[in-house]
Symmetry: C2
Subunit: 346 residues, 2 copies
């Protein structure tokens, strides 16, 4: 019999069909690497084509190399077709029942490697660390801009997942509002904390480590598991084991361990599901908002929160009415998914 499961963080109910034992191959999609091509002259993200992108914002560069020329390991530029515009004030207006704001924000691209065909599972740890360094740098920098409330880091891998360029890259969108799912998580986490004096994510981590059945990977600082109420087959969350509300708080030592965790998980996904398309999204605390007399407006909200990465493989087309209802039907059991991922030969 199927089960209805509730995710305690988002308060979202999910239908988990556990009827038939599905194998990873039941979800097989064409491998993303088949659409990658070889890069070169036409790819604006390949080394040597630095002038084909908007100017470099920052980069991890070899000593002595110059902006907007080769010699970088990770490079950050503005998105050529930004969803939001960096210049201008945040004008808030109302029109009867409707509210609006000028579309001020940042939309940046993190080019993860100069090498067109190299993805995270095959990078060395140090390269993955540099990508995480870039996330941190940009979140930190943009949080100092008072117009922005939030920096959303995400990755679209494969056309099906929304990537329009095949060269490995992530994106960051800074917005004058906090995205809705993050806001819901924040307020539910706060309510839980007020009631129990404990972080809900810490409780989940403890319970997952205790049962072990959904754990995919763990090291000293990080744990990755298929969530109890997974919306999608092979959905995976990565959390720091220690209570930490902001990604920017991560130490260099932790960053290395996160790099290893992320690489391990993406490799397991790649091997188990034949290099599937996926999205990942970093759920972080919003930027602190300085106000007169209240240097940190979000205050406890942030301390209740626990940053994490949500990985969503794009294996099913079943998300039709889900968009209109918020009710997800997952045809695969998270426990089985975790088992297949643990058993992957990587």
């Amino acid at each position: 019999m199927p089960e209805l499961r509730k995710d305690p963080v988002s308060e979202r109910w999910v239908v988990i069909s556990t009827e038939r034992g599905r194998r990873p191959s039941d979800f097989a999609m064409p491998a993303v690497s088949d659409e990658t091509g070889t890069g070169g002259a036409k790819c604006p993200f390949c080394e040597g084509n630095e002038t084909k992108t908007p100017p470099e914002i920052t980069a991890w560069r070899k000593a002595g190399t110059v902006q907007n020329t080769p010699g970088w390991d990770v490079r950050i530029v503005n998105n050529l077709f930004p969803a939001l515009i960096k210049e201008g004030d945040v004008n808030r207006t109302g029109m009867g029942v409707f509210d609006m704001m000028s579309g001020v924000g940042a939309h940046e691209v993190i080019i993860e490697t100069p090498n067109h065909g190299l993805t995270i599972p095959d990078m060395d740890d140090a390269q993955v660390e540099k990508i995480l360094w870039a996330y941190k740098e940009r979140i930190q920098h943009l949080s100092e801009d008072n117009r922005f409330r939030y920096s959303l880091v995400f990755k679209n891998y494969g056309k099906v997942a929304g990537a329009s360029l095949t060269h490995p890259h992530s994106q960051l969108i800074a917005t004058p509002i906090t995205p809705r799912y993050v806001k819901m998580e924040l307020s539910n986490a706060r309510r839980y904390f007020l009631e129990k004096e404990r972080c809900i994510f810490c409780d989940i981590v403890r319970q997952e480590l205790g049962s072990g059945e959904r754990i995919v990977f763990e090291n000293e600082n990080f744990v990755a598991f298929t969530p109890f109420a997974s919306r999608f087959p092979y959905e995976i969350w990565i959390l720091p084991r220690r209570h930490e509300f902001a990604f920017q708080m991560m130490s260099d030592g932790e960053r290395l361990l996160l790099a290893r965790c992320l690489k391990d998980i993406l490799k397991r996904l790649k091997v188990t599901l034949n290099d599937p398309p996926f999205n990942y999204v970093l759920h972080n605390a919003p930027n602190p908002v300085p106000r007169p007399g209240k240097p940190d407006y979000w205050g406890t909200l942030q301390y209740d929160f626990h940053w994490h990465i949500e990985i969503i493989p794009r294996l099913t087309k079943m998300a039709g009415f889900e968009w209109g209802s918020g009710l997800y039907i997952n045809p695969n059991s998270p426990e089985e998914a975790a088992k297949y991922l643990r058993d992957a030969k990587i």
Copy 2:
């Protein structure tokens, strides 16, 4: 410059890119009718194949015809692969931080016509009315089952939108919980009502009719428009002009006018966007929950609500990180979409 707009009902912010005037053909997809085929012996929903589906629950039949044989205009059967199971009690259990429920529910298919190739835009009004009759019948019937809190009616049109069979059909899923988006709408509508003593949907309808710029269709009882904070290009909502919280309350006269409205809108979509895939979802008040001393538990919640149909054409693949963040980026202006839809030659 792009705009951030907030939908007052769901409190969802959407980025609307108004930069470049996009034409409907910029969103063109292969026409769904190209994948429909001719039905016949292999299609379980075609007339004459009644024994290839689970037994008939109910049908609109010609006088003198017999269950599970030809002679029907609209036919309702259980889904052969139901997401939830009809038999059994709703067992609620907790496991540490997690909550779960047995997957009890109904999953029914409304076969909209015996004619494989006939879709709503080309049906006569009376046939569309029969489909709406079926929705009402089943919602009403299932609301009398105390195990179910909600009946979600939806339609997946085209493979891209999640349809696995091409014969015209809708679906209904009855659940022991209220789906999350509906719940959020319910509680936001209630808050608005408590504050202003007015229905938020009635206010939106008034404002939309006043400005007219997003109106696509109206008749005496119904209005259809592209919402101010549309998540998707050519998203359309249909609402009754009169305050009405439950779809089941609709009179026969209203049903005819809704049939005409739905038919008109789907025809405009078909003509403007070359028969695109779409989903629609009926957002209705939850079932009343009878409790000792409180015959109608939801009470005011329901009276605050205003049922409506949300139509979501599936034109963009941009919904990658949207799933992980709740932040939508719509590359098309709702005002332009409304204009193209109004101008459609139907």
